[in-house]
């Protein structure tokens, strides 16, 4: 049977259990890496501790290669994977606003949950802030709907829009990541 294994026909209980298991593994791994600690996270932006970059891009590269090869072997139906839609301007804008917030709190939504779960009150404050932010923008989505829905490109991937074969893009991303890791080690070494 090709992956994805569960689908719309699967029982709610099984699907929920899968979500719980995956979430637990996610939260556990983030905490193990120290990403439940805002002090460690902001080191990324002060160029003293580049754990965020290392963890994020190691994870990205692992999943990227995993999806490619499982697809290539016919074990994963890549076409059935959920592909987020692209909205050029809103996502660029949202990214910028998000980045400012990330620098201010030193935590992102996922890591703020881990921090809160570890007893950190700043994590709890971030969680509350995110909730408030989501709730606030929720009231503005309708008046801003032209902006919110603008520059949509559908669910497109880098291979789709560049015409470059997926495997070549995978090589480019992995190469950039590995080079980035070398640079990160060098930057951190300069600090000691």
């Amino acid at each position: 049977m090709t992956a994805p294994l569960l689908d719309g026909q699967t029982s709610t209980v099984v699907t929920a259990l899968s979500a719980l298991a995956i979430g637990i593994a996610f939260g556990w791994t983030l905490e193990r890496a120290g990403l439940g600690n805002a002090r460690k996270l902001v080191g990324q932006f002060h160029l003293t501790d580049l754990t965020v970059f290392k963890v994020m891009f190691s994870a990205l590269v692992t999943a990227l290669l995993g999806v490619f090869w499982l697809g290539r072997l016919g074990w994963l139906d890549v076409g059935r994977l959920y592909l987020p839609e692209t909205f050029l301007v809103p996502q660029l804008t949202g990214g910028l606003i998000f980045g400012v917030g990330f620098a201010l709190s030193g935590l992102c939504p996922g890591t703020s949950c881990v921090a809160a779960a570890s007893g950190r009150l700043d994590g709890l404050a971030a969680v509350a802030g995110i909730m408030a932010g989501v709730w606030t923008i929720g009231w503005f989505i309708q008046p801003l709907s032209r902006f919110y829905e603008s520059t949509s490109r559908g669910a497109v991937t880098l291979p789709d829009v560049t015409g470059i074969p997926s495997g070549v893009i995978v090589l480019a991303v992995v190469s950039l990541a590995l080079a980035g890791f070398r640079v990160a080690e060098w930057i951190e070494a300069r600090r000691t």
Partner: protein, 199 residues
């Protein structure tokens, strides 16, 4: 600072593995199997899992389903003359230009042959959630735009058929009451779309 050898060995091993897999990926090209699972596709066709009927498509469009895309694979002139509302045009020869999507894709052509062929091609390319309107525009016209309804238009099926027809700018055809008492005519008078067979 932790510079212990086990960590270094682990890191360099991971890096080498990643680099090798990436290099091979560039040579491989695309994350889809080199062989098309013909058996699986054949089974889907045989069980008509690839089909969708015109009434279902009409319901999906009317409910403004956001994860739906309808592709018309006919000639430009035929598309311009009439196409299923909300359908995009992509002639069969340019089918490979279709971007992968998590939407449900419904293909159709005039009578159904090209639509069905496009289904096989897209599925071979690795697209998922693709269905074909097996009777094409012909089925759309006879079942959605001009459904046959009994004169009293009783029952939910008839009411829905009329509703859809009007919604898409068509006109229902009223079937005269059956003279033949064996029931074969009154079967046709029920607004249940006849199942089309063969592509």
């Amino acid at each position: 600072m932790d510079r212990s050898t086990p960590h270094l060995n682990a890191r360099s091993t991971l890096a080498v593995v990643a680099a090798s897999l990436a290099l091979l990926a560039a040579l491989a090209g695309e994350p889809r199997p080199t062989t098309v699972d013909v058996g699986a596709l054949a089974r889907q066709i045989a069980t008509e899992a690839d089909h969708v009927d015109a009434t279902t498509v009409a319901r999906w469009i009317k409910s403004r389903r956001s994860d739906l895309r309808i592709i018309d694979v006919r000639e430009q002139s035929e598309y311009d003359e009439y196409h299923i509302p909300t359908a995009e045009h992509l002639p069969l020869e340019r089918l490979t230009a279709l971007a992968r999507s998590s939407d449900t894709t419904v293909l159709y052509s005039g009578g159904g042959a090209h639509g069905a062929q496009a289904w096989v091609l897209l599925r071979a390319l690795g697209h998922a959630k693709v269905a074909v309107l097996s009777g094409g525009i012909d089925e759309w016209t006879t079942e959605v735009l001009h459904p046959i309804v009994p004169p009293d238009a009783a029952g939910p099926q008839a009411a829905e058929a009329v509703d859809l027809a009007v919604y898409f700018g068509g006109t229902p055809r009223v079937q005269p009451r059956a003279i033949d008492e064996t029931g074969s005519r009154s079967d046709r008078a029920r607004a249940v779309p006849p199942r089309r067979r063969g592509c």
